[in-house]
């Protein structure tokens, strides 16, 4: 299919930029290897806490993640899907500058009952590509394509980091999931508290947009999160708001939310409440919320319960209950998830049924 001229230029410019970046990184790795610098990492390091591969004296880090999911949902054919396959890379050429990218193949390979085997329709997409510039020890300027820092779920959206096969609906339909622009991040640590604040803006369209995601032509938003240690755990509470111009509808929309992330004596509680005027399956949303509890059962086995409700203006509320088990391997590399979800009625392809997923962040 012929791409419009402007998109072709953008794609070429993007590939050139990536090419220059990779060449520079390669040179940096080569120089570090040939300079004969003292290998202070020659001290045998435990790999227990470490993931990925470090190169160039630790300045370059590369990792990968994968997710294979099986879903049998009411009204849909059974499907097995290698639905996330990605590479992460971070390069720290200078003390104040870091470059990061996440490239991803979505729906790479799968099988659906009745349709047989299917392959990805497009090549790797740029999920994130940004530069971090440390303005001071507590302030960072992030420039590029990032995951919108709205709530808890969106910034950790990938399967190895989550406890259920599907994400809550309200975290997917209320705000643009990515932004391409600028974010100013400020961290403060007054006493026992940690405070993370960010402000962000997207002046134009999204870089290498995922076509099935909610996206913005322009956006502006911010978030403040407060963290505090508890006698046997840690709590973080956040509040945020975003204004944006939706790509599909051209309408100006807003989203505002609060969230809580609580870890006490091994019990994990996560909740988000989001007010918005977005759309999903032609229903306008007004507000939505979920509450998720994760409790250790035995060794790496956890029980998971999540309830969600989304108020849809032109339909009855969407209600969803997920009951599940999650097993994390001893080295924390592999996660196996088994879910059953009950949905009042189907919205955005979510209906009653079973989901199983195996995922890893290497």
């Amino acid at each position: 299919m012929e791409l419009p001229r402007r998109r072709r230029r953008t794609a070429v410019a993007l590939r050139c930029a990536l090419g220059v970046l990779l060449t520079t990184v390669w040179c940096d790795v080569g120089m570090a290897a040939s300079a004969g610098e003292e290998d202070i990492l020659a001290v045998p390091a435990s790999s227990q806490d470490q993931r990925g591969l470090e190169l160039a004296g630790g300045r370059l880090w590369v990792s990968a993640f994968v997710n294979v999911a099986f879903e049998s949902l009411k009204g849909h054919p059974e499907e097995v899907n290698l639905d996330d396959l990605g590479v992460l890379a971070r390069w720290d050429p200078y003390a104040r500058l870091s470059l990061f990218t996440a490239l991803e193949l979505e729906d790479f390979l799968g099988w659906a009952d009745g349709d047989g085997v299917f392959f990805a329709e497009k090549g790797p997409a740029i999920e994130r590509l940004y530069a971090d510039v440390s303005v001071s020890s507590s302030t960072t300027l992030r420039l590029g394509k990032i995951l919108t820092p709205f709530g808890i779920w969106n910034p950790i959206r990938r399967a190895p980091l989550t406890w259920t096969v599907d994400r809550p609906l309200v975290t997917e339909v209320s705000f643009p999931l990515h932004l391409t622009g600028l974010m100013l991040d400020y961290k403060a640590t007054p006493g026992d508290w940690s405070i993370d604040t960010n402000l962000y803006g997207q002046p134009g369209g999204e870089l290498d947009r995922f076509s099935d995601e909610k996206a913005a032509k322009r956006s502006l938003g911010g978030r403040v999160a407060f963290g505090h240690a508890l006698p046997s755990g840690f709590a973080t509470a956040g509040v945020q708001a975003a204004w944006f111009e939706d790509v599909q509808s051209d309408d100006e929309e807003y989203a505002a939310g609060v969230d809580l992330d609580l870890s006490v004596a091994g019990q994990l509680v996560t909740s988000e409440v989001i007010l918005s005027d977005g759309e999903v399956d032609d229903y306008e949303t007004r507000w939505g919320a979920y509450l998720q509890l994760v409790s250790p059962i035995w060794r790496g086995l956890f029980g998971v319960v999540r309830g969600e409700i989304v108020d849809l203006r032109r339909s009855e509320d969407y209600r969803n209950l997920v009951l599940g088990l999650a097993w994390r391997s001893e080295n924390d590399r592999w996660v196996l998830k088994l879910n059953y979800q009950f949905s009042g009625h189907e919205v955005d392809g979510r209906s009653d049924g079973v989901g199983v997923a195996v995922s890893s962040l290497f």
Partner: protein
């Protein structure tokens, strides 16, 4: 003799339990850097942020490289509770999230000797040792005594 001013008011946790008769007293934890490092002292909050990788630079703009002992090392457990307010196992979810942005936890070295060697080789590095394991090539910038959750001011070595 230079004194390291340490207004380190520590995060909670880690208040040691009452010692039982015959129980060996845990060592003081000394936070150390290379003797030639420009680092003279650190606030508790900055030390916590460095070990949680919430920040990588200190006030003068230089990068600091924190190093850790293995997750099951008793000194690591004590340091983690005293400084970070959580045990290493309680931080696994936190690190998973940061890994997803390419931010790695502090380097893990297998022993006190490895920490010493690393600090000798890298002026940017900061680590911790049992106080009696500190030699004259290192500078102590904080000491957490065996009983009590606050560090004592100490002379640099």
């Amino acid at each position: 003799m230079r004194t390291a001013p340490l207004g380190l008011a520590l995060i909670l946790a880690g208040a040691p339990e009452t010692m039982l008769a015959g129980e060996v007293e845990p060592p003081s934890v000394a936070v150390v850097v290379n003797h030639d490092s420009t680092l003279r002292s650190l606030d508790a909050e900055v030390l916590r942020d460095l070990y949680l990788r919430r920040r990588v630079l200190i006030a003068d703009g230089s990068r600091v490289v924190p190093v850790n002992l293995p997750a099951d090392d008793p000194l690591r457990l004590r340091f983690s509770q005293l400084v970070l307010g959580r045990r290493p196992a309680e931080l696994s979810g936190y690190w998973d999230r940061l890994y997803y942005e390419g931010v790695r936890p502090p380097i893990v070295l297998p022993s006190a000797e490895a920490i010493r060697r690393y600090l000798h080789a890298d002026l940017r590095a900061i680590g911790y040792l049992a106080e009696e394991e500190v030699d004259s090539s290192l500078r102590v910038i904080a000491v957490f005594p065996p009983h009590g959750s606050s560090p004592a001011a100490t002379s640099s070595r």
